[in-house]
């Protein structure tokens, strides 16, 4: 039977309900309607749902602003009863231009984060609204920045193949879990991979996510930040699968190794050109059906698919197994591209070097990072030529 741990009012066993649920408002509901709620003097005032919301809001204290995204501001916060328990409060901005009610990004983020519970996916601890009916998402606080910061800080942060393997392992498990639950993330990129105090990488920002249970439903191809967007979306495919996320994962992998975005196109056309140069030109031979996609156009002359040697030359520090995995994530034809489950079964994970333990992973410089430790680490994977390339691209990071 599908009886949930929801507790009947009166026989309330709060602790049982809390441990079963990551949503703290379960506790509120199990307390059921409080008499006070009914005695509210103003009919428009506190009804039950509002009372529950108020209780939830009261649990947190909002502090300084941590950052700003396109559709939300993020604040530091803490539990009222336990000031040392920090949280991030993501307050969804009211979008004046959007006149159709609750914005789609907020709906998607809520819908999916409420369901997904995994160590490598940011946890949603609670949701409440402030008095102006702004939505506030209480998220776990992830103080150590994101992967983009680490990649870009070439002088301050050195890391090696074992570290990359650890980060990639966490990213791959996150995306595997999404796909197992029929969720596409559709915006994987280094700055959506946040880092917890213990070094754990967490996939965040589900504002573009959607379920993909029905293979016949049409979906928009206008998703995923351009540099990480797979060829099928650039060609306007309306039916696609988890393979779109895998391509992005592959590009995060490539970027971790070379410490600069691998294919940083300025426009969609440019992005297609870069793919044709770096991977090879998609055609009916390597990808049956591709020429039927609505926006299929490729530059002349076509390039053959790059061979293993090319990848070994550019990404050799990842080792031959790493290169093999990378190549499989960047297969042009989405049907032939490796899946998240197959990625997890790849032999790279068990080949040397072993992934670094998360507590020992390099951290962003300044703040908590200990310079001495960084210096003791084996030299990073950069050579002069690559750092020069990074330097030219440094200010690309702020792209939205």
């Amino acid at each position: 039977m599908a009886y949930s741990p929801l507790v009947v009012p009166g026989s309330a066993d709060k602790s049982a309900a809390t441990t079963k649920s990551k949503l703290s408002n379960t506790v509120v509901s199990s307390n059921a309607p409080t008499p006070e709620a009914g005695q509210s003097s103003n009919g428009a005032g506190n009804d039950l749902a509002e009372q529950m919301n108020e209780d939830e809001k009261q649990k947190y204290i909002k502090g300084k602003k941590l950052g700003e995204g396109t559709y939300a501001n993020v604040y530091l916060g803490h539990l009222r009863d336990s000031p040392s328990t920090l949280v991030a409060i993501k307050k969804i901005k009211v979008q004046k231009e959007y006149t159709e009610g609750m914005a789609p990004d907020a709906i998607r983020e809520l819908k999916h984060l409420q369901e997904l519970s995994h160590p490598n996916i940011i946890s949603l601890l609670s949701v409440f609204s402030s008095k102006d009916q702004n939505l506030n998402l209480v998220l776990e606080f992830l103080p150590l920045g994101d992967l983009e910061m680490l990649i870009k800080d070439v002088d301050g942060v050195r890391y090696g193949a074992a570290d990359i393997k650890a980060w990639m392992g966490m990213l791959t498990r996150a995306i595997w879990f999404c796909h197992e639950n029929f969720v596409l993330h559709r915006d994987i990129k280094p700055n959506n991979l946040l880092i917890a105090a213990d070094g754990e990488v967490k996939l965040a920002d589900f504002g573009l996510a959607r379920s993909f249970s029905d293979p016949y439903r049409v979906m928009t191809s206008n998703v995923i930040t351009r540099w990480y967007r797979p060829p099928e979306l650039l060609f306007g495919a309306k039916h696609y699968s988890g393979a779109v996320d895998i391509w992005s994962v592959g590009l995060v992998f490539a970027e971790l190794v070379i410490r600069t975005p691998y294919m940083a196109g300025d426009t969609e056309v440019h992005q297609v050109n870069l793919i044709c140069q770096a991977i090879g030109t998609p055609n009916e031979d390597n990808w049956p059906g591709v020429s039927k996609l609505p926006e299929y156009t490729v530059p002349e002359p076509p390039n053959p698919i790059r061979g293993r040697d090319h990848y070994l030359g550019t990404f050799g520090t990842a080792g031959p197994e790493g290169v093999d995995l990378l190549m499989k994530t960047l297969i042009l034809d989405p049907r032939k591209r490796i899946t998240a489950r197959e990625m997890l079964e790849h032999k790279w994970w068990s080949s040397d070097p072993k992934p670094t333990r998360k507590e020992e992973l390099p951290k962003k410089s300044g703040g908590e990072a200990k310079l001495g430790e960084d210096l003791k680490r084996r030299p990073g994977i950069l050579d002069d030529e690559r750092s020069a390339r990074v330097a030219r691209k440094l200010d690309f990071g702020g792209m939205k």
């Binding site: 009886y3 949930s4 079963k20 005695q39 009919g43 197992e180």
Partner: protein
Amino acid sequence: MTSTGPLNEDDRYRTSTQYRLWSFTPQSLHTFRTTTNQLAAERVREAVRRAREARSADDASGTDSRSASAVPEGEVDCLTVEEELKLIAFYCRQTLQLGDHLKVPTEVKATAIQYIKRFYITNSVMTYYPPDILKTALFFATKTENHYFRLTKFAEAMSKTKPEDILASEFLLTQGLRFTFDVRHPFRALEGAVMEMNAMASGEIDGPALKGMGRKVMMAHGKAREYLKTSALLTDVYFHYTPSQIMIASLMIADRELIQLYISTKIPSDHPSSPDLQAKILETLEQCAEMLKTVEPSADPAPAEKKEISALGKKLKKCRNPDMIDLVGLQRAKREGEEGLDEKVVKKRKLEREQSAKEGEDLFGPSLKK
């Protein structure tokens, strides 16, 4: 694709909000609904008392007493839990019709109805008028199920409905849903089971018990789908059973013999506890099927039932919470904070609200534009 069979509920289902927040024992569900009903009734009586006081004050000072026109005379006769449930069921059917009218996919209608049913666990129809809530729920479901519908187009398809009417209760709805929007339906599970049974029937995969039963499978599929599209939505089965249980129960109603054979292929007969296990599974499915059968898919409500609903609608009109009639006004006030407004605006809006309150009393709610 899935590693666990349809009888072996996916562990993952247990992490879903549908299981964690929206599954109940029949007793606990009843307790919630009773509390909600009693609370709402108290508030209605209280609000009516206040409105009457205000009216007699107005009468005494000889001012315009229109504000209390919606307040009935005499003791307020509030709805019981059972009466509320009948009305909710009626409005859920209306939601199906509205969805058909707007040609939205089954998932959108199904999700909207679960939103309505979830919302009314902690909210009473006396407080929030179902004809308002159902439009909002259907519109919101188009968003959560990725079937975007322009708000203006959506409103235009219904009579006497402005876009702001639909948005006025959106936030209220999401709050009542406790900001959980994902609903797990049994439709996909049905397609999976049917595919498997077909493969067994044709001998493609092992399952000799079903060999040659392709036609039976096809018939059962059609009938089960009807149950899932109506009975499963209009009863409480989503609150008590998993999507797979609902799916199998609907197949069982369609063709008991076939489904028992199918179930037997899922439980290895050499398993020591096989008979016990099978009996236990069957018992649960039986209960689920009984609940499904309380609402037949095709049958229109009987004349007696229609009469009863109409009477309940009249009763509801007399016990609606007068403070909660104008949701558009309340919503606007909440967004802006009433203080900032000058008196003229407040007065004008009050008049508008009274007007809309009168118009909004059509029991049959959003009549459809043909």
